[in-house]
Amino acid sequence: MAKKISILIVDDEESVRDSLYNWFIEDGYRVECAENAKKALTMLESDIYNIVLADIKMPGMDGLEMLKRIKSLRKESIVIIMTAFATVDTAVQALKDGAFDYVTKPFDPDDLSHLIRNASKQISLLEENEILKEKVVSLENVEDLIGNSEAMQNVLKEIESVAQSNASVIITGESGTGKELVARAIHANSPRKFFPMVSVHCGALSESLLESELFGHEKGAFTGAVYNRKGRFEMADSGTIFLDEIATISPKMQVELLRVLESKSFVRVGGNKEITSDFRVICATNRDLKSMVEKGIFREDLFYRLNVVNINVPPLRERIEDIPLLVDYFIKKYCLSMNRPLITIDSSALKRLEEFPFPGNIRELENMIERAIVVGNGKKITLKDLPLGKTVVNTTFESLDDLEKNHISQILSKYSWNISVSAKALKVDRVTLYNKIKKYDLKPAK
């Protein structure tokens, strides 16, 4: 560490400059000297010195005046003033003007070493502070959001741009795409990150339970309310509240929620005292809220209040290129948690995973890998460890045409677009298969 620190010695006495120079150079510091304040200031303009050690009494500009000039040049400069016993008052003035410390000449060798060590610590702290500040503005805690695909990178960019603001966010996406992880990443990168993020699964609670859960209740408010209880909005004070499955809340709760969002105040169930809470709202849904608004199922005013920013998390089938990364991540995760040696995945098994539509998205893939580790041979995940063939129920295809297109596409991929073999597997002749390929505009994956 000592080698990185640079020291500028400013003293009109050559013997003092030489002594300090020799002393510090033997300690491995970078040392330079100036015989007056004017020269020192010129040197400070063209180079950065971590510590300036300056005599208080010098002809021309004195140490105090130089201290002020140095501080105006570079506020974080560490200036140590050297003085004789007779000028302690002036040294005190120097401290008031921003000097780091002062030493009275001659010093005990130990004092000098201590002083420089303290100054070095201060420099490290300042540098550390700068690094931490930089870290704060870059995304953190997004390790669980795996993916190099363009779609996922766009999501990360959106998280970064929205995190610093206080705006309400609606995260949309199919079930199992990782909406809560996105909410956590937004919270973890927001100024509210040192306060709690409180999650409420709206779909799992009945209307009255949800009301008590969100707003809290007073003792005796209803049967079973034997204690006063803080609601989730109250718990999320200074932090973030995450309302999962927001589309499932009843019209009555929609009205209540709108009121709370507008006033940031509420009353506990059975209470009469108004409670205020400063929270940020992030919601998630796998349904199309806009069409629900059009149908009159979801309040338009609440929708616009919540939908300041919309982040759509892509389904896994739209980011197939992320599957190998995700598989690798889940293998590591579960091998570690099960205390097993790290295993790999067979290339044919990985290929099949890439072809699989994953209606349950990442959650389904995660469960598949966890199961494969449990039932597998402990060395490699193979095709037989993956429940791919049996459980393919793709709920996203509504028409027969979609189903047929997808099935043909899968068979073609399975047999590497060998038309004869694929036609045989599909139990149709080659011409029919060609016609279907043309009809559905199927193309081999690149």
Binding site: W23, I25, E26, G28, P106, D108, S113
Partner: protein, 155 residues
Amino acid sequence: MVVNDVEREFLLPVKTQEGHMDLSEFYDPSRRQYDGNRLLKEIDFGYSDDTIKTLGIFNVDLFIPILTYIFGQAFLNGRAGIASIYRLRNERYGIKSDEKVFADRIRKEVIHELGHTFGLIHCQNPDCVMRSSTYVEDIDQKSHHLCNHCRLKLI
């Protein structure tokens, strides 16, 4: 003993010369000590012509303007260094005389200052002779050898 140890550390022949310098011009009556900076220059200019490195060993208390005392000093990567045995004796601190300890401190100081003339800076290794020493206790705690890290820098 000192000569042998120095030769072993730096792998170079050492010759000694005893002399009686008039130190009166280096004496500072206000501090009642001898000016280490001026003495170092004197050794550099007056005595180091026929050797690679020269070290002056003095039996007087040395100072430099900024410090209350020094055990020694040297020009980093230079030709000369100085060391004082004045503060190395036990008696200076009210402790019973011990010639063995005294000799041990001298050899450490000599090797330390010569190390600076060979370009070695202070070392953090507590056992290395190049570790900085403010008090005699610090000198006693380190060995009279260069650590491997410093030895490698010499080559």
